[in-house]
C-alpha cells in the first residue's frame, strides 16, 4: 500500500506510524519549561551578580514561565506545524492566565492570613468595640451588622433579580424587555457611593433627616446587587435548551411550572454561582454603608432602628482612623478582613453544595 500525501501537509512524512508524524515527544513541554526557567535563572544570576542586588527568585521563575510560551510555540511550529503550534501556544497561554491570576490570590491570601492571625482570638469573636479603646475589643457588632444587612439585601435582591431575569428570558418581548435589559446594564454602573447616597436620602424622606439604619444600608446594597443577579441569571437561563421547555409544554405543563421545575433546576448551578458572586460583590462594600448605615461600636440587631456596623466599614475605619497603639488597630483591621473573607468562603461553599444537590445529573 502506498502512503499518499494528503492535502494536510503534516501527515505525509514517512515515519513508522504516519499518525504520529511530526509530534514532539510527550516530555517535550516539560523539558522546554525547565530549559526556559534555567535560561531565565542564569540571566537573573548574571544581572544580580552585576548589580550586586539580591537574587530575585520570583522574577526568575516568572520570566522563565514567560519565556516558555514563545519557546514551545517555536519548537512546535518547527516540528509539528502551524496548527499544532497554535494549540500548544493557546494551552500555554490559558494555563499561564490561570497561574497569573493565582499570583494576586496567593499574595493576598498570605498577606491577609499572616496579618490577620494576630487578633484571631476568642475575644475578637465574643466582644464588640463598645467601651474599647486601644488594644482588645472584637467584631461581634460588625459581624452581626454585615450578616443582617447583606441578608436583607439578598432577600430584597434575589427575588427581584431572579424574577427579572425570568421575565427577560421567558416572558419579555418588545419594548419593556428591551428597556429593562438596558436599564439593568445601566444599573451595573451605579457607583456604590451614589447608591449609598440614594438610600440615605430615600430613608431620610420616610424616617426623618439623618436617620441611618441597617435597612438603608441593605437597600443601598440591593441597588448594587440586583444587576449582578439579573445579568448572571439571565445568561444562565438563556443556556437552557428550548427542547426542554418544549418537552414540558408538550406534557401540558403550564409555563410557570415549566420555569420552576425544569428551567430553574437545569440552570441552578449557574444561578447559584451568580448569586454568590453578587453577595460577594456587596458584602465587601464600604462607601455606601458608611453613608447609609452609619457607624457604631455597639451591637445592634434591629435593622430598622439605629446605626449598624459592618465588617468592611470596620476594616476601613480601623485602618483609616488609627489611634494608639496603631498596631492594635491594624491587627483588628486585618483580622476583620480575614473574617469577612472566611464568611464569604463559607457562604460560597454552602451555595455550591446546594447547587450540586440540584444540578443536572450529567457529566462535567
Amino acid at each position: 500500500m502506498t502512503i499518499q500525501t494528503t492535502q494536510a501537509p503534516e501527515t505525509g512524512v514517512a515515519i513508522a506510524n504516519s499518525l504520529t508524524a511530526g509530534r514532539l515527544p510527550k516530555s517535550a513541554p516539560w523539558t522546554i519549561l525547565v530549559a526556559a526557567i534555567a535560561v531565565s535563572a542564569a540571566v537573573f544570576a548574571v544581572v544580580s551578580f552585576g548589580s550586586g542586588s539580591g537574587y530575585n527568585w520570583g522574577g526568575a521563575l516568572f520570566v522563565g514561565a514567560l519565556l516558555y510560551i514563545p519557546a514551545i510555540w517555536l519548537f512546535s511550529t518547527l516540528v509539528e506545524g502551524r496548527r499544532r503550534a497554535m494549540d500548544r501556544l493557546v494551552t500555554a497561554l490559558v494555563t499561564g492566565a490561570f497561574l497569573l491570576a493565582m499570583i494576586p490570590l496567593v499574595s493576598l491570601g498570605i498577606t491577609v492570613v499572616t496579618l490577620g492571625a494576630a487578633r484571631f482570638d476568642a475575644d475578637f469573636f465574643s466582644m464588640s468595640m463598645r467601651n474599647v479603646t486601644g488594644e482588645g475589643g472584637g467584631i461581634v457588632h460588625a459581624i452581626v451588622g454585615t450578616l443582617l444587612m447583606t441578608g436583607a439585601a439578598a432577600v430584597i435582591s434575589i427575588p427581584i433579580g431572579l424574577m427579572t431575569s425570568i421575565y427577560l428570558v421567558e416572558y419579555g418581548r418588545g419594548r419593556l424587555a428591551r428597556g429593562v435589559t438596558f436599564l439593568v446594564d445601566v444599573m451595573t454602573g451605579i457607583p456604590s457611593i451614589v447608591a449609598g447616597l440614594f438610600a440615605y436620602s430615600l430613608f431620610a424622606i420616610f424616617l426623618g433627616p439623618g436617620t441611618r439604619t441597617g435597612i438603608a444600608g441593605a437597600v443601598a446594597l440591593s441597588l448594587l446587587m440586583i444587576p449582578v443577579v439579573v445579568r448572571s441569571s439571565e445568561e444562565m437561563l438563556r443556556l437552557v435548551p428550548n427542547e426542554l421547555r418544549e418537552a414540558a409544554f408538550a406534557l401540558g405543563v403550564p409555563k410557570w411550572l415549566t420555569i420552576v421545575k425544569v428551567v430553574l433546576p437545569t440552570s441552578i448551578a449557574g444561578i447559584t454561582t451568580g448569586v454568590m458572586l453578587s453577595i460577594a460583590r456587596v458584602i465587601g462594600e464600604t462607601a455606601p454603608l458608611l453613608i447609609a448605615a452609619g457607624f457604631t461600636a455597639s451591637v445592634n440587631y434591629n435593622l430598622f432602628d439605629g446605626r449598624m456596623q459592618s465588617l468592611p466599614v470596620f476594616v476601613y475605619t480601623q485602618y483609616a482612623n488609627q489611634g494608639n497603639p496603631p498596631q492594635a488597630y491594624l491587627d483588628r483591621a486585618w483580622a476583620a478582613a480575614l473574617t469577612l473573607i472566611l464568611i464569604v468562603m463559607a457562604l460560597n461553599l454552602i451555595a455550591r453544595l446546594v447547587a450540586r444537590f440540584f444540578a443536572p445529573k450529567f457529566g462535567r
Binding site: 463598645r130 467601651n131 472584637g138 452609619g294 457604631t296 483609616a320 482612623n321 489611634g323 494608639n324 496603631p326
Partner: protein, 340 residues
C-alpha cells in the same frame, strides 16, 4: 457580646440615659472612641455613636438636625452662621463651637539614615511646592550641617482627599512662607500633580513605602518615620503636645462670634518660644439652645467629660492629641454650662 449591656452592677450613680449621635471629622475618631468609652463606662445606660464621616458631612448632618453634635476640623464660617438653619437648635439659638481636639501635624519623611531635620517654613514650602527637588539641596543642608543628606529625589506626598489636615498645613505654609507658597489655604491640595494618598493612613503608608518621600500627618501617626523640627523665631521646635497646646493659647479667638462660639484664629507666624505652629484644631459643635430639651443633659454631660482633664488625658493617650490648657478649659466649661 461580652462587653455589651449596661447591666453591670456599677457603683456609678449616673442618672443619664439615652442615645447621643454625633458625626464629623475623622481626625477626631480615635479620640471620640476613647471619650465614648470613658463616658459610657461612667454612664452605662448611655450609648454615644460618632460617625467619622468627615467634617463637611458632619457639619451638613448637624445642619440638617440629624445629629446632636458635630465634630469639625474648622469652625463654621461667618456666612454659614448668618445663613443659620440648624434644625436641632431652637429658632434663634446660636451654636457652641469648642476647640476640644488639638493635634500637632508632623512633617514626616523617609530618608535612610536621617531621623530628624531642622527646616524653616520657606524650605518646607519649597519642598512641597516642588522647587526643592533633591535631598542634598543646599537649602536643606544649610540648616542641617550634621545630617548626611543623600543625593536622592524628593517625593513630596500630599493628601488626595479633601481634609482639615491639608487645610491647616497649607494655611501654615501660606502664612509663614508667603513668598514661596502663593496658594490659598484649602482642604484640597492646591497644586496639580505630585504624589497623593488617601487619608492619614494612606499618606503614612505612602511615605513609609517610598524612598525619599516626605509628607504631613497627624503627629500621633509619625511612628518611626523621621520628623521635621520647624523654625519658630530663632529656634527649631519639634512637634509635641505641649507646643501644640501652647500655640492655641497664644492665638486669638475669632472676632464677631457669639458667646460660647470659641473659634480660634491660629497665629501661624507666632515667634513665641516653645510653640509648634502646624496644628490642627478640631471643634465639637453643639447648639446653644436645643429645640428639644431632652438631649441637653446628655450633650452637656458628654462635652463636660471631654473637656475634663480626664477626658483630655484619655484622648492624649489613645489618640496622641494635645490636652487643652487650663485657661482654655475655663472658657470651654463656661460655654458648655451655657447650653440650654
Amino acid at each position: 457580646a461580652s462587653n455589651e449591656g449596661g447591666a453591670a452592677p456599677s457603683e456609678s450613680a449616673s442618672t443619664l440615659s439615652g442615645n447621643l449621635v454625633g458625626a464629623g471629622a475623622s481626625s477626631q475618631d480615635a479620640a471620640q472612641q476613647s471619650w465614648i468609652a470613658g463616658f459610657q463606662t461612667a454612664n452605662p445606660d448611655v450609648t454615644v455613636d460618632y460617625d467619622p464621616s468627615g467634617s463637611g458631612a458632619g457639619r451638613e448632618t448637624f445642619l440638617e438636625g440629624a445629629s446632636n453634635f458635630a465634630g469639625s476640623d474648622r469652625a463654621f464660617k461667618d456666612e454659614e452662621l448668618a445663613a443659620g438653619g440648624f434644625k436641632k437648635c431652637a429658632a434663634d439659638s446660636t451654636i457652641v463651637e469648642l476647640p476640644l481636639y488639638i493635634s500637632p501635624i508632623a512633617v514626616i519623611f523617609n530618608v535612610e539614615g536621617v531621623d530628624s531635620l531642622d527646616l524653616d517654613a520657606a524650605t518646607v514650602a519649597g519642598i512641597f511646592a516642588g522647587t526643592i527637588t533633591n535631598w542634598n539641596d543646599p537649602a536643606i543642608a544649610a540648616t542641617n550641617p550634621d545630617a548626611t543628606l543623600p543625593d536622592l529625589a524628593i517625593t513630596p506626598v500630599h493628601r488626595s482627599d479633601d481634609s482639615g489636615t491639608t487645610e491647616n498645613f497649607t494655611e501654615y505654609l501660606g502664612a509663614a512662607a508667603a513668598d514661596v507658597w502663593t496658594w490659598e489655604a484649602d482642604g484640597v491640595w492646591p497644586l496639580e500633580g505630585g504624589e497623593a494618598a488617601q487619608g492619614t493612613s494612606g499618606l503614612v503608608d505612602a511615605v513609609s513605602n517610598g524612598n525619599g518621600t516626605i509628607g504631613y500627618a497627624d503627629a500621633s501617626r509619625a511612628g518611626d518615620l523621621g520628623t521635621v523640627s520647624i523654625k519658630v523665631g530663632d529656634e527649631f521646635v519639634p512637634y509635641s503636645p505641649e507646643a501644640a497646646a501652647a500655640i492655641v493659647d497664644h492665638s486669638p479667638f475669632a472676632e464677631g462670634r457669639a458667646e460660647g462660639d470659641l473659634a480660634i484664629d491660629i497665629d501661624r507666624t507666632s515667634e513665641e518660644a516653645g510653640v509648634y505652629p502646624i496644628v490642627l484644631v478640631s471643634y465639637l459643635i453643639a447648639c446653644g439652645q436645643y429645640e428639644d430639651p431632652a438631649n441637653v443633659d446628655l450633650v452637656k454631660g458628654y462635652l463636660s467629660y471631654i473637656a475634663s482633664p480626664e477626658g483630655q488625658d484619655t484622648a492624649a493617650a489613645d489618640a496622641g492629641s494635645a490636652p487643652i490648657s487650663d485657661s482654655l478649659r475655663e472658657k470651654i466649661t463656661a460655654a458648655i454650662d451655657s447650653i440650654k
